[in-house]
Structures are given as C-alpha cells and as structure tokens.
Symmetry: C2
C-alpha cells in the first residue's frame, strides 16, 4: 500500500510486485534478474521480515505464505549507501527538516547514523528533504516522519520505507540538534510552532548498542562505568530492555568537529557497551587502575 501510494505521487521506489504464489517471484526475476529481496508486507523491522534471494527458493516462499505472511518481492537496488530524511509537520501545516543523514547498516539493521551524511551532494540533500516534506504534506502527516532512502549507484534517490514517528535515524537529535525529534514531535502534534533543526556540532554520530551474540561476563552497569571513564563526552542512552543478540538495547551519541574521529568514538563506545570486549585503540586510553580491574580476555560463560 505504501509503495503504491508513493509511486502514485511520482516518487521513485524500487521495482516491486506483490507475491501470492512462488511463481510470482520467478516471474518478477525473469523481468528484473537476481538477486531479489523478499519482504513481509507487514511486521518487519531491524532486518526481520526481509530475505535476500540469490536464486529461486519456492520452498521458502511457500512456507511463508502458508504461515499467513503477506509478501512482496523487489529488486535489490545497487546502491552507494542508505540515507534518511527526517521531517516534522504540524496540523497547521508548518514543517521542519533536519539535515539528511547516512544510516549505516549491518545485517539489515541500522548500526550507526552519521549527521550530516558525509560528502552528500548539497543538491541531493535538498532533493531528499523536499521529497520528505512532500510526502509529509501529501499524506497529511502530523508529527515526525522519517523517510528511508537508497542513494543508488547513479546518484538517484529511491524511497525505501516510511516511519511516521520519532525514529532510530533521529536519535542523534537528542544532543545533536537544538530541537530533538521527541520535542519536535510533541510540538507538532500539539500544533505549537516548530523548533530550529540546527546542529549543535559540525559532526554528530549515533551508534546503536546491540545485544551481544553471547552475554558478556561484565554487567551492563560496570560497562557503563568504563565507558563514562573512557569517553566523558559521549552520551549514553539505555532503554532498560533485556539483552538479546542484535537487539537494540540503547544507543550512544558523540559530537565534534572531525567526523571520522567522532564516528570512531561512537563506534568504540557502542561496541564496548555491547560486548565488553576490547576494540582497537581502546585500552591505551584507560587509566591503569581501571585497566587492571578488567580482564584483558573476557571469557564467555
């Protein structure tokens, strides 16, 4: 429904088709080639409900359909990266756009958000903001709208998904923008004038804290102690969720002037909070007392 509506507005979306039988996938492949992306039409998030198909897999399709999962298939877009355009709109019609960000993906899930998107052509950035504002207006969005975009190899923008709410791609705004996505959402829903979307630093990076594949020996509270000591400038947000492999249980935000260094700090802090394992460049910055209190090799239970 979302793809049809967006295509109806003349916005570029990946080629797609609904899947009611395994044959639908092979017919689409005959026209568009492999690989293809099979998606659950409802309920997908963080890489769940998405299957990359490098060739026919009628058994998978049949099994999913038999389980009652409504499906679609789409072309695997050959792309440079993923971007997101975050905007807010009030019932009065006022709208505000944050700078376009890059969303770094791993295993189908966002792991980092780089604000603003490094090296993005200014014309493409404006185009992305205009697309998001247009979608918000046409769909009469009230509150936040995140538009997930593919920056294709040819530089064109394709709309991937919409999220009509404060979104993971906007968590960086809590410290990184004068108005956070949460304050802006409330301003918009309550029809107050919107706040400025100005950045608080030239480079802002949000990194998700993911549940580790195996539970770290060191408790989360102890990990927080270490990350606070190592990075007194990094802001830590923990959601109080049980840790499960790859589950988003929190995020960190780093800010500064050197985008690469800011990204490195955010990545190290999030990695440490996830796994309590040393990463390159970590140990040398810890004071001796802290360093000696932590086993160098963390043994997994």
């Amino acid at each position: 429904v979302m793809r049809e509506r967006l295509a109806g507005l003349g916005l570029a979306v990946p080629d797609y088709a609904p899947v009611h039988a395994p044959d639908d996938v092979e017919r689409f492949a005959a026209a568009h080639g492999w690989p293809l992306v099979l998606k659950a039409v409802r309920g997908g998030y963080d890489g769940r409900g998405v299957w990359m198909l490098t060739g026919p897999d009628p058994e998978l399709v049949a099994r999913l359909l038999a389980a009652g999962t409504p499906l679609m298939v789409e072309r695997a877009v050959s792309m440079r990266r993923e971007l997101a355009a975050l905007v807010a709109r009030s019932p009065f019609g006022q709208a505000a756009a944050w700078p376009v960000v890059e969303t770094v993906q791993a295993d189908g899930q966002c792991v980092q958000v780089l604000a603003p998107a490094p090296g993005l052509d200014p014309g493409v950035a404006v185009q992305a903001q205009e697309m998001a504002l247009r979608i918000a207006t046409e769909l009469e969005v009230t509150g936040l709208l995140a538009v997930e975009l593919f920056e294709a190899d040819d530089g064109g923008l394709l709309v991937n998904e919409l999220a009509m709410r404060p979104h993971n791609s906007g968590h960086w705004t809590i410290e990184g923008s004068r108005t956070s996505q949460f304050e802006q959402h409330l301003r918009a829903v309550l029809d107050y004038p919107l706040g400025t979307t100005e950045l608080t630093a030239p480079a802002v990076v949000m990194a998700n804290v993911l549940g580790a594949a195996e539970a770290p020996v060191m408790g989360l509270d102890e990990r927080v102690h270490h990350v606070f000591a190592r990075f007194p400038d990094v802001r830590v947000h923990l959601y109080g969720k049980a840790e499960r492999p790859a589950r988003k249980v929190g995020h960190v935000t780093a800010l500064g002037t050197d985008a690469a260094e800011v990204r490195r700090r955010a990545a190290l802090a999030a990695h440490w909070l996830s796994t309590a394992e040393w990463a390159d460049g970590w140990s040398i910055h810890l004071g001796a007392a802290v360093r000696d209190s932590v086993p160098k090799q963390v043994e997994h239970a």
Copy 2:
C-alpha cells in the same frame, strides 16, 4: 555556621557578626559603617530573608528576633557583580568544574545567568574554580556544589553562599554543556565517572521566567505559542508552578556566538513569558497573523 567554616578554611568572606540584640547591629556598624546587610541565618532564598539597612532600624531587628528569626549582619560589599562557580564531586573524589558564570541580580534575586562570565579575567576564573573545588573537597561534598561569589571592586573574590545541590545558576547546563548539572549530580551521587563540562556554544544565557506583578491577560500556553514562533532556537522550561509575583516559574535558555545578542534573546523570551507585554524589538519580528491576534496594549484585570 557556613561563614565560620569557610573563614576557618582561610577563604575570603564578607565581614559579619551574629545578631542576638539590636545593639549587635549598631556595634557592627560602628566598626564597619553603613549600609549593612541583615540576613536571616536560615530559610532565606531569592531575596527573602535579606534586608538592606542604610541606618539603624532597631524596631525591625527586635521584631525579627521576637518572631524567632536567627539573624546575622554583614558588610554590604562594594562589588562589580556576582559570579557563581559550579562543581561536582563524587565519593571516589573525582571532581569537575564548569566555566564560571555571572549571575545577574534584580531585587535580590537572580534573573539571568551568563555563561561564561563575560570579560572575566582567566586567572580569576581559575581562582573561583579552585575555591569551589577546595570547598567541595574540604566539606566532602557529594554531588553538585554551587558557590556564589562577589567579585569585589578591587577584583578580589568573596564567598557569599553555598548551595549543595543542582542550582538555578546551573540551569544553563541543560542545553549549554555536554553534561547537564542534573546528569552530573546523578553521576556523582552514584559514583560514576563524571561527564565533560564542555560548552555547546560560545555563549549561553539562562533567563528566569518570573511571575508578573499583575497576572497577564494572555494565558501561559498562548504565551508559549508566541515565544516558540518568535524564537525557534530558545529552549523553554516551565515548572508547572502557580504564578505569583516574582516567583521563579520557569526559565529559558539561548545559545549562540554573540554574547550580547544571545542575552537579548533570552531576556526578551523570558520577559514575554512573564508578562505578555511587548518589549523593545519584539513586535517587528512577529508575523502579521500572530501580531494581529494579540492586543498591543494588554489590559490588566
């Protein structure tokens, strides 16, 4: 008790004496001259419990003593301005100091905080931070400590009062520092490593929203609408308190590079929220629709 303890640490405080009878004030005046400041030893805040005496007033002193108010008298320090040094200290002994701020007073009450204190000699700033850190250490403070200081006409620093808690002079840190005084207080009390006290902008100004002398016709919610429209960058904090004349019912924070302009914006926003009355430079920036919806002359009930 606080003055005795500070003097015992060798820190400069205004000359003072306890007052048990009206004669005590006159004896102090004979040694130090008029004017003098009579203070309630307990329970004073926001200018309450402070009386400026330009000459003998034995009736006032007798009445206060009869009402059970313990009193002290002190020299009225001839000063350039008031400053505040905000620090945090953890049980482990880690300490952190924010830049020293100027606290602008009106009617014995703080109305604005300018961070960092404009034009403050860097040596004096360090001296103020060192005084605050020393007090925190000597008194074994856990959490936040605000040291209110007089910058005397001769450039010397005198300790006025201590507040061992997050304090009005530190509200600017919510948006103006990478670590707010509230987060820092929790980090300190929980004995976590403290966060950086770096500023998020070269100039930060907090202005208190005070209850007006007469209740404004325009409701607070409507005033917020206007201030949001006029200053999309100003952050508004309202405490949900009933409005009473001169009561601190909220505050606003402005940030930027031009300290004078930042102060002007904060002052205008706070004044508008307090009174719903036009101030210089206000109306020309409002859109016509907003301007026309507001009576130019607010009639007080």
